[in-house]
Symmetry: C2
Subunit: 332 residues, 2 copies
């Protein structure tokens, strides 16, 4: 069909994914039945696996470089939420055809973020199939220093990094093809290029009582953190970080809805004992601002307040099987 | 649509895949952003990742239990080829719908083989999408004792475990719906339930100079082993293990073709220095017979001999992108 017809599985791997020699913890990499990896005797291994599907986790037509970036970014976000230091990954790539330009773009996006976080590709699989990408990333954590979801206690302050909702707003900007502007372009990038908060997660190891990343929406994910900890939460809508870009393009109600219910932010949501909450900002070395938005309670469930009153939320996040795929159509 | 409508991602994980408490090397399992795993200070970690796609790696309509079994079996075969001891896995399951009977069947097949090989499910992802399953399995190997493809030297004898070709013949029996008979049923099982040769791989750590598993066909995979080692091979068709079941259902030429070109056997192909080849069978503790089928040469490529003459082979294996999917249609 095209000039790349006949490019086989082994050519794809050799040309785009093989590294010239073992790196980092990888002793034997791509090219054998399995990879062989060094372990660090004084550490624990932390592994996360996320799958992204064409038209489910990104809109059909998303650029290959952005898909490659996302495939690893969402996994690094999980390591960040544990406080782990990234090390290596495995990749499964199911492709409809061996389109060389697409594969080159995908590899460029994947290795762009991999190199930035010192992640080595150890191995994986390339098969014919619908476009489905799975990455498993592994990292290291000092023994007994990982951040679980289950450690929040009543009175702990709830924090969030960055500006939740911008990714959801960016997705709307992509799907509605909002005209180019600084705000729209910024938001689109926030959806397409989520920034894993790895440095923040490393800082939080000794500061936070619980942590997770926001992939399904702030309220949904806070509900999971509360369920894992056995408590509830109250958050104050007025304390949510303000997005200048969102405010320029969307009304106030939509901004709140995106912040609370929009997925794909990959910011960290975490709790800190009350005694340490005031000093938190001084102890964080990372670049991203963190904002206190609420408190863990001994009630059940998550309640929202606004203007000192309970506030009813319309939309509370995304479950792949319970709801329709969000991308087509989306109502802002 | 059905009684399981509304069964969400988190219900699926909790009901079918969560284990009650951490096991084996898993310190923190399903339910957080990532899993946390113990490492063994005196060992190396060995990881393999294989993806199976509906209609590509198994015929559409294959029973869910057989798909679950296969998803792990093909990965364990890679660990076997390295001589590693299996420990834990991660699972990505992309499903069109939350069909509870299907998921229960899949989990039953997966855990049947996982329990037999002491593999704990550490984590993973469940998403909506076309039916694509990725497993990454991890195991342990004593330092510097892994079996690579690259260690074969001229004069080394080539061995294969089991009876290559039976899986390909079994696939034909499935697709042509051959009438039930002991032979046809046996071959179908050989395709549906490949047996990872883990115990054999453990034995071979100190005996073999090179090893790999046969997933794409004996000749294709032997070609890869030779390329990795930098030498060639000569194999004797008359020495291929005889399959009584294949002989009952297929003519002699088809039997040879399946043995040399059929994929999905998941037998081990390995080389042993000449000086040790004669004693090999006494040193193997496993249940599976291994047969000497050829020798590593210092020529390039793989040549076949039969009746003491060079033998031209019709079909040499399967590459996911270079060829059409083999399952529909198949010409025996």
């Amino acid at each position: 069909m095209s000039q790349v017809m006949g490019l086989g599985e082994f050519d794809i791997i050799a040309r785009y994914f093989a590294t010239p020699r073992p790196q980092g913890d990888v002793l034997l990499g791509i090219g054998d039945d399995a990879a062989v990896l060094k372990v660090r005797a004084d550490r624990k291994l932390v592994v996360a696996m996320d799958t992204i599907v064409d038209g489910v986790h990104f809109p059909i037509g998303t650029a290959a470089t952005d898909i490659g970036y996302r495939a690893l970014a969402v996994n690094l976000s999980d390591l960040a939420a544990m406080g782990a230091e990234p090390s290596w990954m495995t990749l499964s790539l199911a492709l409809r055809e061996a389109n060389e330009a697409w594969i080159a773009g995908f590899a460029a996006g994947l290795f762009e973020i991999a190199d930035r976080f010192n992640v080595t590709l150890a191995g994986g699989d390339t098969v014919k199939g619908p476009l489905v990408i799975t990455v498993q990333v592994a990292g290291w954590i000092e023994s007994d220093r990982w951040l679980a979801r289950s450690g929040a206690r009543p009175g702990d302050r709830i924090f969030v990094s960055g500006v939740p909702g911008e990714a959801a707003a960016g997705l709307v900007a992509i799907q509605k093809q909002l005209p180019g502007s600084a705000a729209a372009d910024y938001l689109r990038q926030r959806f397409l290029r989520p920034e894993p908060r790895v440095a923040l997660g490393r800082d939080l190891r000794t500061l936070a009582s619980a942590a997770m990343d926001i992939s399904d929406g702030l309220l949904t994910d806070l509900g999971k953190l509360c369920a894992a900890s056995g408590y509830g939460a109250r958050i104050d809508i007025d304390e949510l970080p303000h997005s200048e870009a969102m405010s320029q393009l969307f009304d106030a109600a939509s901004c709140v809805e995106y912040a609370l219910g929009g997925g794909d932010d990959y910011e960290l949501l975490f709790t800190v004992p009350e005694s340490q909450a005031a000093q938190l900002s001084r102890q964080l070395t990372g670049q991203v601002a963190c904002r206190q938005i609420g408190v863990i309670t001994d009630a059940a469930g998550v309640e929202c307040w606004k203007d000192r009153r309970p506030y009813a939320v319309q939309r509370t996040g995304y479950d792949h099987f319970a709801n329709e795929p969000p991308y087509d159509p989306v109502e802002p």
